[in-house]
Amino acid sequence: MDLVDSTQQLLETAMRGSWQRQTALTSNIANADTPGYKRQEVNFESELQSAMSGGEPLDQVQFATEVQPEEAGPNGTSVSVDEESAKLAENGLDYQALAQVLSARNSIVSAAIGVTP
């Protein structure tokens, strides 16, 4: 087994995707009052899944930020600030969970090779 195994790579790639989603959600919130703005979404889970089943190297997976072709609401944008805020909170917690798992795995490896973290 390599020191950096596939789970470690998967965690890192998921963190990258989550980070990209965070940027997209922040854009949506910042443009909540910009007329004509269309909300963006990063659906990294499905892309990650297809990359895994296709056997692609995970560190080269690029996620797409997709502009959603939704109808604009009465304020001229397709953004609902409440929805975006909820997604933002969820994504932030997801990211922290991933970071903690990564951290725990690192400390296991450290213990195994005799480095006190």
């Binding site: 965070q22 922040t26 854009s27 600030v81 903690q100």
Partner: protein
């Protein structure tokens, strides 16, 4: 993908909302100003917003050139200008006023205090949402730094 991009985008939202709040405050303060520029009643001002760094070659190029300069990052929001609302002035019947015309009407600004107050509420809520987005980005940075421990 910059590490601090999300904070910059939320920051551009804060700037835009603050400009909108400033303009709303100006409108409220001048709700009864009958003599503004040119001796005409004050005209309601409105902020124009635009998504920063919209797709397209020329904007991508100028974005790349201007990257070092200050300005909202791509995906953020920018204020393109403050424009006058073209709604006609209100006519108020007040024959006692020194401003009244021959028929006793006074031209008042095209401002509805109710509209301005509701705008102000929505602006302050958008501002708070931007602050929340910035705080989430901050806690995500902290989690990243925690991996190094």
């Amino acid at each position: 993908m910059g590490l601090f991009e999300a904070i910059g985008i939320a920051g551009s939202g804060l700037t835009a909302e603050r400009v909108r709040m400033d303009v709303t405050a100006e409108n409220l303060a001048n709700a009864d100003t009958t003599k503004a520029a040119g001796g005409l009643p004050y005209q309601r001002q409105e902020v124009e917003l635009k998504q920063a760094g919209e797709e397209g070659f020329s904007s991508a190029l100028s974005g790349a050139i201007k990257q070092a300069e200050s300005g909202p990052p791509a995906g953020g929001v920018e204020v393109t200008g403050v424009v006058s609302d073209a709604t006609p002035d209100q006519q108020v019947y007040d024959p006692g006023s020194p401003e009244a015309d021959a028929q006793g009407y006074v031209k008042m600004p095209n401002i509805s205090t109710v509209t301005e107050m509701t705008d102000l509420i929505s602006e302050s809520q958008s501002y708070q949402s931007d602050v929340t987005a910035m705080q989430t980005a901050k806690s995500m940075f902290t989690a990243t730094l925690g991996v190094l421990k």
